[in-house]
Amino acid sequence: MADDANKPFAGLADVSISEDIAVEGDISVPVGSSRVDEDMSTLDEPVKETVLRDLRAVGKKFVHVLYPKKSSALLRDWDLWGPLLLCVTLALLLQGGAVDQGEQGGPQFAEVFVIVWLGSVVITLNSQLLGGTLSFFQSLCVLGYCILPLTSSLLLCRILLLVANNNAVTFSVRLLVVCASFGWSTFASTAFLADSQPPNRRALVVYPVFLFYFVIGWIILTFSP
């Protein structure tokens, strides 16, 4: 019986309870639970408090994206506010392209939305089909938050184009900035997503993410007001 030692409570094999000892006890719910419920009720707090709490959560996740370490905050408390804010900012900043060119100008507002959200959904489905363990919304959350470096690079590019003319020097500066932010985005999302994949399929999951941020970076780079 070698596996007796492996069984739990192995040392209690010889303990027995005699029949005349009454087994009694008390099962009751701790009294303090209702107090805990009152603390969690957020119905009576001022609206500013509610909004600020969500904003603080979003801000905390931004910090996690900017300094990507192996933290699980992004995955554990996922939310889609951050991706929505970033998508709206991206779409707004990409407006104002060459107006008189008609449909050959920059992307419309809705096109940016479609590209970002549809791209995220497709990549999430891809990683799930390949056997990933992240849930659908966690994946969307990570991909959305990691657009932050690209959005900030778009802001920088627009400021640069406001200040200076669109010549070769500014183009090379913009190219550098967009490349750096694209690399940062891909690295950040890989740091969050890669752990959830089986090890022999990591490259298969990372490549579509690379393609997604490459397309967004291309849209940012070719934008000229």
Binding site: E103, Q104, E111, N126, L129, N200, L204, P208, T222, S224
Partner: protein, 447 residues
Amino acid sequence: MTIDCLLQTCSDPRSVTPAVTPGLQLSSVSLHRPGCGDSALGETMASPNDLQFQEFEEAAQLLSSDPGASTLSTLLSPTAGGSSEEVKLDLSDEEEAAQHEAAELLGGQKSTGGFWTFQFYQSFFNVDTSQVLDRVKGSVMPIPGRNFIKHHLRSNPDLYGPFWISVTLAVSVAISGNLSTFLVQMGNPAYHYTPQFHRVTVASVVIFLYAWLVPVALWGFLSWRQGVERQVGGYSFLETVCVYGYSLFIYIPTSILWVIPLEWLRWTLLAVAMVVSGSVLVLTFWPVVREDTKAMALTAVVTIVALHALLAVGCKMYFFQNAAQLSPLQPTTAPVQSLTGSGGVAPDEERALEGGDSRGGAQRGVDMLHRPSLKKKFPDLNRGVGGGHEVESDMWSPEAAAVRPWEQFMREESAGERGAGGGLCVGRMKMDFKENEKGQRVCAKRS
């Protein structure tokens, strides 16, 4: 092998799935599903390898001691006699319960659940990075005698490759096309760079249609030609889609190299790419088609190659136009005044307007109205009208009639004649000058 048994959705968590290494003969693999009765077991007894039965006894013992696990038996070689190792994995029900056996043994019959379940689609993505890279390499270097499907796919077609190769190709063609247009027009001051995003849509639609509809048509055609016996030498739908998808891979580096604006280089690259990917397709489908009549075989092969060539040439012509095809955007040297008395029309616009000779003067005038270049090039069009003050709305006043270019066009068309009522005779509206009873020239509808 009882196919019905394998296709049952046996939701037994204790299913035993043997993994088959490539190269094993089909006859030596035995399969045992506990929930499917003894028929499968009876057939495995026909295998000459008695030790396989013993191995499943061990597996059964392991399962009885720990019902939560599934055992994965790897058969290294059928003749080595029992040199098999067992790997005990904790597999969840949903993940890899039945996809291995169906995938490995029934080339193409992968439906492990209904098509509404997630597992059904997950079975199409059962590939590793190394496998995908191997398949890509096989599509780029076709060796005669090596059938892509038999050699590389090995009864495990996937949808990852075709889908992402199509997406990458659409993106690369659109971006490279945009870059090449920019490079061609770089010295042209009249050219304003536009990202041309609608091209991405066009590219993706065309490529996806090719990569998914043509295999459907080809598979339908092949199935029809072979009648009922589809298993013998025929390819399943997934394998056809897979071959087509992977054969498109060579166009990705080709499209990136097409940015170089040398015409002979582009045609050379196009020829090379067509030869490589066309030969992959031909080598794959020739053994199947060969058994048919000569005429049908040749037709099929020629159609495959022709469609492939059409895609490549079409992409090149639409996305990568060279300098000659982009010539209408020639720069105007100076605002041309009174060229043939037409009051300052830019040469390219005039050429475009002349080209539409069949259209009436009113159409031309309307076209002139919508030229944004007009306002930019001739901002002082109103100078000298009404005392030299600049009022844009004066363009419509009778005093400005002398400089309104569209009216000048209409005047040109009617040879400077006006009807008695002062109106303009516009040929497009089927009106013409006629003598009325008073002998005056008036505009009237053509009889």
